[in-house]
Subunit: 140 residues, 2 copies
DNA sequence: CAGTATCCCCCGGGATACTG
DNA sequence: CAGTATCCCGGGGGATACTG
């Protein structure tokens, strides 16, 4: 029990070292790839799109729009394009009339969704706690 | 090897079921707590703040501002307030002159940073791949 | 030092209409 | 059906100056 917690802590520190240990605080990199990647992949809408594509192997534009409720045409097509460019999803168009387009995760995208899902699950499980905290804070 | 991958897949599907299985697609909830919590906790600036607070147990306003380079006064204090309200961090003010204020993670915040860190690590490790994808896509 | 207060700007993104 | 094209708006957020 104690050792498990200890191990977790050690691993956490290791990861933090890995991410932050090498940064020169005097001269912060003006272009941080991690920030860049993050800005695409962990954007609100993108997250939802990816999770739904994790749930359904293949989705078409309008289905996606229904599941990611609240998203507009513009933003959806925008996000899809970027997610495709970054290699998370793939677009397959069938030259029928009317045209049919199918979106699905790439292997790379699937590996990301796996991670993403851990986080989403945490939020799912802990949102009541957050709400409670928020409530309590409001009363102070 | 094969079974490990299989197991991973099964677990992923389980999680997706848990998150999406119960949603009524006809009547999407107009207020989704997960989205709400997500909008705070996985905001760009908040993420960086939390990660730095994972790295340094205690940080003061101006230190934080230096590490989370690029953030403005306004946004930093805004995010700190929200993160405190949601229970991720705690604020401790010492009535000295000039005043000293220390921010640190709560236990709850630490549990979140753990998850967050997994994702951040993934991005750290995979950002080259994303950049390569992006490059290649640009050439098409 | 740790923030507020103020001003201002810009663009993300919604709504709608349209097209191949 | 799967998007683009346009228009338009609000407010998120940057810069700066100020204060307890």
């Amino acid at each position: 029990m104690e050792t498990i917690a200890e191990n977790q802590k050690v691993r956490t520190v290791k990861k933090l070292e890995k991410m932050f240990g090498h940064i020169d605080f005097k001269n912060p990199p003006e272009l941080c790839p991690v920030r860049d990647v993050m800005s695409v992949a962990s954007d609100q809408w993108s997250t939802l799109i990816l999770l739904w594509l994790g749930y359904f192997p293949v989705l078409r534009f309008n289905k996606l729009k229904k599941y990611v409720y609240g998203i507009s045409n513009k933003v959806l097509s925008q996000r899809l394009k970027v997610l495709e460019a970054d290699g998370y999803i793939q677009r397959k168009a069938y030259p029928e009339v009317p045209i049919r387009v199918e979106y699905s995760l790439t292997a790379f995208g699937r590996s990301y969704v796996e991670k993403l899902l851990d986080l989403a699950e945490w939020m799912h499980d802990n949102s009541p706690k957050v709400m409670a905290n928020r409530e309590k804070y409001g009363l102070l």
